[in-house]
Amino acid sequence: MDRTLKNRLEVRLAGLTRGPVRQRYDETEIRVSPGDAPKVLTILHDSIDLRFEILADLAGVDTGAEMQVVYHLWSPASDDWLRVVAEGISRDDPRAPSATFLWPGAEWLEREAYDMFGIVFEGNRDLRRILMPADYLSFPLRKDFLLGDDASRTPGAGVRHSERAQVPATPAGGDPAVRRAPAS
């Protein structure tokens, strides 16, 4: 584990991160607010001593209470993965800025996150369904999208999508049916 990376990040991103820089095994994690994400990513990508120039992954996350966008970055300058968690996106109208200005390859990743979670990436020129059919209506990986346990509970399964969505979880409490991430 590379301690100097933590110091460099704290120096570079002073005031932009939420909470401390956490390190475990070969992963370094910082949390930012979605509004700051483009600035943070630009700093990480451009500054000489960080040079996080490979976007390893972009994932959406639906903790039962909020939406998150998780970036994984790789830089030849350090031997650790960097995880940037843009947290605090509302579940009812999830919107986050796009990262396509840095990595055009992020376009399809954001399309997938939109397809699975309904997160609208503002600035992505081609934000449409990518995996599910174009006329599909709901977002499968949201926590309030429940699977049928077997064919008996999905009548006509196969020919029709077996979706049984529920009333959205209220931001405050949410309904018990939805699994919630622990407050970590």
Binding site: W81, R125, D126, L131, P133, L147, S184
Partner: protein, 446 residues
Amino acid sequence: MPTRRQPAQSATTNADPKAAPNARAAGGRRASAKPDVRGVGPRGRISADDPRVTLEQEIGSDLYEPIPPFPIKTEREGEFYSLRDGEIFLNIGPHHPATHGVLRLVLKLSGEQIVDVDPVIGYLHRGVEKICENSDYYHVIDQVDPLEYLSSLFQEWPAVMAFEKLMDVEVPRRAEYIRVLTGELLRISSHTLYMGFMALDLGGLTPILYSFIERDEIVEMLASITGARMLFNYYRIGGVNGDLNHEFMSRLGDWMSRAGKQAEAITALLNENEIFLRRMRDVGTMDRATALRYGVTGANIRACGVPFDLRRAHPYSVYPEIDFNIPTREEGDSLARYLMRVDEIKESIRIIDQCLHQMPDGPIMAKLPRLLRPRPGRAWAAVEAPRGSLGVYAMSDGTDQPFRFRIHDPSFMHLGVVPHMLPGNLLADTMAIVSSLDPVMGGVDR
């Protein structure tokens, strides 16, 4: 059918999305009954410049996805689905002999030259991530198998690595060596198949059969320890399922004795073939800046001169103890991508040889509770699969099921480069470029 009557450029979203599928489902069943909808009367034609009609002749009629897919939603879609003079749409796939699996490329051609391309994926989206989030940690390893179906061990590897991080499990070294050994075997089989399909897409019949001979030998070899030819559910959290047995070792020794010569024999069919070289050289060139910006990894980025290989850049298993090279090439064209695989096969044979010599004795599984309840947290692990860095991002909420299980597949990123690489080339180059990127649709669509 309001959605089809609109001009292609209109970006309106007022069409009733509830009525439209109805009409399409009904109309598709009696496609012959409403010829005007399909754009073809009993003997009538519609102008070839009307995208909504001519493409429907090739991919499904109104029963299936119309072109454009729905009321135009995005700007890029609006650009693509508007035709200039002399341009036609050509739909390739989802069923097409050259697109391995169910990739679909909507090409905008002028003559034989490609103006623009819109890849459509998702025809193999099986909802694996959702299933994994609803099944416990043992089932996940089995569920992720069919994604990278050409080298499914590489799909299990990051998953078990991430789970081991979550559970602070120490993997015995013999198990690590067995993982490296089996993984490199699969890398060889995958690359050999790649070479065969490369030739098949350029019209050569024979190399693919030679490749399949190699692949069958390796796969049968692995079947003797895993019991399956394709979807080996072999790796476990904290080790591997079974130890190497005698049949495996005898098959492996038999194969290793002539592996090098076999690879030479297969490549000799193509590497001196002038037609093959002329079709691959300077086609689909990708410079390193583009490769980095588009998140290309694996052999494809090493063909652009970027020595990014997780086995060295971020050593994850016993790879630090093994001596091998990272071959790179400067010219980023299809031929370089092809020759990269040829070199990697040689390196993998070296790695297997060292594994056999350095493999220690000892246990192959760590001590684990029967019911896995890792602490709440997040873990990311990535390995160097035959197609690039294949990562898994797992979140745990303390229960026996992963709370979020995200699979990052390199083929997905490589297909994202295709719209950047294709325009300007000829129709025949589509296959030379797409198959040189070596996508596996199972991994792309997940």
